[in-house]
């Protein structure tokens, strides 16, 4: 084992292998910075070049790419409040709050150092465990994975902000949104409203953009200032962030461990890892008051976990040839293109290849973190750009990212609908993380529950492993409850207040109708296809009915926002810019759409001379064209393109 480790190390530094590793790292950093794009996009771009490449170079390049995405995706999460990839959604909560306080440098520095440690931790675990990991993976079957899903859901308790009722209902919405599309047990299509687009269900990238990016943009557009509102110099805080990570070393180690474990277990998926780490750190912290408002621990935890995940994720990929996440599925395809067959034989005969991956992972993390540090003082200046200039860029990038989900114009329509809903959630203090957790765990819970019952009957609940995880859940919930304080209700709400027509009661009505509709939809399906969404929506419907009409205390908590009508109007005025772009795009296509958007926003929000507006617009369009050219990605086209043959890039 040791000689393969050493010979793999020398192999990476011989010939052009290292150059390919560097290329992969640079590419990965770039893709990570782009919001909403992660390993799947990166691998898909490299896939055509892999066939016929020398395996060591190709492995170094692919691993280099995947290793640094969770490092560099922090930029978008911290600086703009847009999840850089689906594995860094949780970073947005505290990272962006810190950036708004002018502490972007500190947050980034803490994030990169935590990422570095997490990545190296994952690589170490991969080295040691890959030879003996088979029993671990075989230990976690459907019943254990189901319980781990429940453990994840139990995090909702601490992530539900000031009101548990809201968190509970928001999680229910997430769970039900996750059941859209084909049912795992019967293949029936649920909640599709007859639209073929919804047959494939919603994707986590769309939900992430809608839940975090859109409400933030609206908020910032409304205030029309720079992101960082305090006049602290950006350059300061690097050392502080580093010290934060060192001080919270136990959090880093624990979360790196969580990240690796989630990675190793195929079937939980990569996008839940940041939430589990975040939930864990909130649960185990004595002072929770600052989470979500700029607690550095809320940045360190998800960042150490999501880098560690990649090392863990390689374990099942190499050992069993089954991918732990979407990007690993593509990586697996890449391996076979290289003539490397994953499976036990790869460990027994070609251990060297595995260790090439280990070293690439470790080196990439070091190089990647170094590069991110190096460029970040420049990139952090984004937070000092006036929002009137930054906003059109952000709206453009978000729509472009959302469109890449299935490359259909409906991606944008869904983004708008969910974005509007989540903007309301933000306004009325509904916890969006709870919705996200429900969504990412929905399929896991339903599939494994059904499989566990099918395989072991309900006796699966008496398995030792299941009971063990259940005890862990109880402990973690207990730890979380110990110090959690519910916000005291300042004003009391009566049932009759529900019938005063304002946007908040309409919002509650929408949720209520959604639950009711899902109950109805579930009855149209076979028992196995309908029982999961049916049960969830029924519980939610009953709890909500009770809250609205029978328990005044709960109602006061659910309907307690101090959001005035004036604020709401402003919010929707800001939101209309996004609608504006989507309408333009569906009429004239993407490029013409963004040109008009840039002009309109800057004319409206800034007092810049026309020539400057023109320059910035040209820059924005050029950025998009370069992106789509090098990444072979399409733009949405509109009605105009259907009727007229237009030259590139308007087609």
């Amino acid at each position: 084992m040791l000689d393969s480790l050493i010979s793999a190390f020398t192999l990476i530094f011989s010939g052009e292998h290292f150059l390919f590793l560097l290329f992969g790292v640079v590419m990965g950093i770039f893709i990570g910075i782009l919001p909403g794009m992660g390993g799947i996009v990166g691998f898909s771009i490299l896939m055509p070049f892999i066939y016929g490449m020398d395996p060591v170079s190709a492995l170094a390049m692919l691993i280099g790419l995947i290793a640094v995405i969770p490092t560099s995706d922090t930029f978008a999460s911290v600086l703009m409040g847009i999840p850089g990839s689906s594995a860094s959604q949780a970073t947005v909560l505290d990272g962006f709050a810190l950036a708004k306080q002018g502490q972007a440098a500190r947050a980034l520095s803490a994030a990169f150092s935590a990422s570095l440690f997490g990545g190296l931790f994952g690589a170490c675990v991969l080295t040691l465990i890959v030879v003996i990991a088979k029993p671990i993976i075989l230990f976690f079957g459907s019943s254990e994975l189901f319980m781990l899903g429940i453990l994840g859901i139990s995090m909702v308790g601490v992530l539900s902000g000031d009101s548990f009722v809201k968190g509970f209902l928001a999680c229910g919405i997430g769970l039900l949104l996750g059941t859209m599309g084909s049912a795992p047990a019967t293949g029936e299509w649920r909640l599709t409203f007859g639209s073929y687009y919804l047959f494939d269900g919603l994707k986590v990238v769309t939900i992430g953009l809608a839940a975090f990016a859109i409400p933030e943009i609206c908020d910032l557009l409304r205030k029309n200032k720079t992101i960082a509102t305090k006049d602290e110099p950006i350059g300061k805080g690097w050392l502080k962030g580093l010290m934060d990570t060192l001080r919270e070393k136990w959090i880093v180690i624990r979360c790196a461990g969580i990240g690796t474990l989630v990675g190793i277990l195929p079937g939980l998926g990569g996008s839940v890892v940041d939430w589990i780490a975040y939930g864990h750190v909130v649960q185990t912290s004595k002072d929770k008051s600052n989470f979500g408002k700029g607690d550095i621990r809320g940045v360190i935890a998800p960042e150490s976990a999501n880098n560690a995940k990649e090392g863990g994720g390689l374990v099942p990929t190499i050992l069993f040839g089954i991918p732990g996440s979407g990007s690993m599925a593509v990586f697996l395809g890449g391996l076979t293109l290289l003539g490397i067959e994953p499976g036990p034989a790869l460990i027994e005969e070609d251990l060297q290849f595995t260790y090439v991956m280990v070293w690439s992972l470790a080196l990439a993390n070091v190089i990647g973190a170094g590069m991110c540090f190096a460029i970040s003082s420049k990139v952090a200046k984004i937070t000092t750009i006036p929002y009137g200039v930054l906003a059109p860029f952000m709206i453009m990038i978000i729509c472009f990212a959302a469109f890449q989900v299935t490359r259909s114009i409906y991606d944008l329509y869904i983004l708008i609908v969910l974005g509007a809903f989540c903007t309301l959630m933000k306004s009325y203090n509904w916890p969006r993380p709870a919705l996200l957790i429900g969504f990412v765990l929905s399929d896991t819970l339903e599939t494994y529950l059904y499989q566990a019952v099918q395989i072991y009957d309900w006796n699966f609940l008496t398995r030792t492993s299941v009971i063990t995880i259940f005890v862990i859940i109880l402990i973690s919930v207990f730890l979380g409850m110990r110090t959690k304080k519910e916000k005291t209700v300042t004003h009391s709400v009566k049932v009759s207040d529900l019938f005063k027509l304002n946007l908040e009661t309409v919002f509650l009505g929408i949720i209520y109708i959604f639950f009711g509709m899902t109950v109805y939809d579930s009855f149209k399906h076979n028992f196995l296809g309908g029982v999961f969404p049916g049960a969830i929506s029924l519980i939610m419907f009953i709890v909500m009915t009770y809250t609205l009409f029978f328990n005044q205390k709960w109602l006061s908590k659910a309907l307690n926002s101090s959001y005035s009508l004036e604020d709401t109007k402003d919010m929707f005025y800001a939101f209309s810019w996004i609608i504006f772009l989507v309408v333009l795009v569906s009429l004239f296509g993407f490029i013409i759409g963004i040109v008009i958007l840039f002009f309109a926003v800057m004319k409206n929000k800034t007092e810049m001379p026309l020539i400057k507006i023109l320059t910035i617009t040209t820059g924005g369009v050029a950025l998009m064209l370069l992106l789509s050219h090098f990444m072979v990605l399409d733009f949405p086209s509109g009605l105009l393109q259907e009727y007229a043959q237009l030259p590139w890039p308007l087609k």
Partner: protein, 355 residues
Amino acid sequence: MFKKFLAIVAALMMSMTSSFAVDFSGKTVTWLIPFGAGGGSDKWARYYAPMLSKALPGNPTVVVQNCPGGSGTKCSNQFAQIKGGDGLTIFGDSGSSKFPFLLDDKRVQYNPTKWPVVLSSATGGGAYVTSKTGYKTSADFKKLQGKKLKYGSQGATSLDLIALLAFDMLGLQVDAVMGYKGRGPARVAFERGEMTIDYQTSSAYFKVIQTLVKDGKAVPLFAWGILDESGNIVRDPTFPNLPSFVEYYESVHGKKPKGPAWSTWKTFFASGFNGQKMVYLPEGTSADIVKTYADAFAKVVASDEFKKTSSKRLGKYPQATGKAAVAAQKAAFTIDAESKAWIKNHLTKNYGVKF
């Protein structure tokens, strides 16, 4: 004399234009794959793409483009919109996007029988049970018959339809546990002991299952087999030591399979394994472009590079071109009304599938 000269020139020009009619130099051929990057169809196309580029006149760049969604129906619908193509867009499908057509899935707005086919790749697989059943050879079949067996499945209308129907015809009591995201996770569930019967495609079978068989954890039942030229199912040369499904059926039931279940099974087998992956040109593509592609694929399959690498990449399976590919296409999409009604009823009754 002059007239004769003109005639010769004209004839020469004619022959020149026809032999140079199809030339792709400097062009890019887009090969659409209706599934995600890294999947089986993607790997298959990426294996062929560089060789196809060499074999086509003018050596165009061949790029594989993934357009996943709706179990392959989304991209198939898009491809069906192209009428009379210029030969610069080709389409590769798979068994799992053929089944929705055969089963009248409401998302299907395409008719693959209208697409000129230029390549048809077969594949195969082997079925096995856990050794805990006590089963050792086909003589022990009785030991399996009374048992409740569990099979991890991707869905009743996926490629698993073939396996589940085969087990059913043999008279085995197999519980299909749905929701597995592929054959790989189902195999791991088998290794954990949660599943007791399974099948894997050839490459996975040789990679993993052979070791399980050697270690005494799994016992092989049969390999599906391949279709010979007259449409009979014969032993799969990749699994020379395993009986074909038909042989196995005969050895345990003492007679050849027949009836509606059997004719349905054969159609789906032809679609899901024998002609699992096919390459098409758009409807209405001119005959000379189709011929250019057919020739190019024939050239690829006959090349030394292909002969050297294909058995490792694709297994020893027929890669039909020309008339053989057309025959495979016909076999894959011909389903009589009776079989169709039978299978729909079967799926509804046993798996609650609604049509």
